[in-house]
Symmetry: C2
Subunit: 258 residues, 2 copies
């Protein structure tokens, strides 16, 4: 296995292959046991956690760069991936990255653009956590799921990126069938409500929720009911075909969801 020092030096040799001063960061959300989860990296040899991210190839679209990062970290080739905001402050990166390079014993070259200002395009992904095989990148030793409300503090401005992603996800929640990638193909109204509660971070009134969901016109009630439940058998629903979110750049539902 390549040491992190070798990997960093390899990266520095290859940096001309990327568009300078630009990166993508992916906020990967999953839903498991009624909890909203987020995928984070832990850097090698440092108590630093950060979002999966990467640079953009000179002949690679920014959407393709985000999809590549997501595929490398999750093993999922086709996922719901949505650009939500570009982060373009003037002091986003340099100090943390220089510190980490020093920690692995590499002198940060004075003229490398990776230590100067980087504008990052943020994408959020909605994935089925059960199908993800988290894989660290070359600067990380671990890649793990964390509960969103109990996530650790992150490096750079990644806390702001996560907060903005959550706001965008909440803002988008009313439109189309955004929740589809986080739910089984057929689900009950209480299951849908628990997902909304996890995203919004608060409890919702059952009757108002059901009324609002049915008014959205994106749900189709099935003839079949959920059996084997402790109480009376609840109705099963699925999302109506073709009611995906407008404006989403990439939104491919995994082919083999249960």
């Amino acid at each position: 296995m390549r040491t992190s020092r070798d990997a960093v030096e390899l990266f520095l040799r290859r940096q001309h292959q990327y568009l300078p001063h630009l990166s993508v960061d992916c906020v990967v959300f999953g839903f498991h046991d009624g909890r909203l989860k987020i995928l984070l990296l832990k850097w090698k040899g440092l108590d630093v956690r950060a979002l999966p991210g990467g640079y953009v190839g000179r002949r690679e679209t920014i959407d393709a760069a985000a999809a590549r990062v997501l595929a490398e970290r999750t093993g999922l080739a086709r996922t719901f991936l949505r650009q939500f905001h570009a982060f373009g402050g003037v002091d986003r990166h340099e100090s943390d990255l220089r510190r980490w390079f020093r920690a692995v014993g590499v002198a940060a070259p004075r003229r490398a653009w990776t230590f100067a200002r980087v504008v990052s395009i943020g994408y959020y992904a909605l994935v089925d956590a059960a199908r993800v095989e988290p894989a660290p990148d070359f600067v990380s030793e671990r890649c793990d799921w964390y509960d969103v409300p109990r996530r650790p503090r992150l490096a750079f401005d990644h806390d702001e990126i996560v907060a903005t992603a959550l706001a965008a996800l909440r803002h988008d929640l009313g439109a189309g069938a955004l929740e589809a990638p986080l739910l089984p193909e057929r689900f009950t109204m209480p299951e849908l409500q628990r997902l909304h509660e996890a995203i919004l971070g608060r409890r919702l009134d059952r009757r108002n929720f059901q009324k609002r969901m049915l008014e959205r016109g994106v749900l189709k009630r099935l003839a079949q009911r959920r059996t084997g439940a402790a109480h009376r058998s609840p109705f099963l629903y699925r999302f109506a075909a073709g009611r995906l979110v407008p404006g989403a750049r990439q939104m491919t539902r995994p082919a083999s969801l249960p």
Copy 2:
């Protein structure tokens, strides 16, 4: 006045002051006589129309770059400006820009990044059209308002940028008091409805519209009514303070709206 050829050469000498491969484009919406308007530039000596845009200074945030472009083109220092999408395709720019440089008699330098790939961050602005003094930039001879449904075809991928801005504006319309910059401080329900119809591009049912608007909880009905109308005096409304759109980066209501 500087000729366009001089201006282009000045720009080429100054391009090291900007972050390479990055730009901002502003979709400036106004509302006048019940119509949604858009501010467009016409290039010098060519039948080419495009969005106001510019490059990002090496020590300038992307938000500040967009605000600067907007201020230069409209004369407005403080406006509602919202980042909505980054456009990062691999062939966005080069051919049109090279053609225009040739038209003004400047050979496009082989190594200038402005002719290579550029990623552009899109912002939409909502402004009071009556207060705007449109001003062309150094590559343009005119800066004018156009009706959104009757706008001309635009250069580069600017038609896609406008379509995406409209989709974002429509998507954002339900949240907070987004419409405030496009309306007088006090307005009637029919005036609000005409704005929504202009943005959505379709007629709305009066009673459903009023019900939905009141349910949003962002409107405050005033004791005062509009007088002098042909029919019965309609109620006046204003937006409740502090109900602006979540996630907006910059959202300053002009200080001196009527």
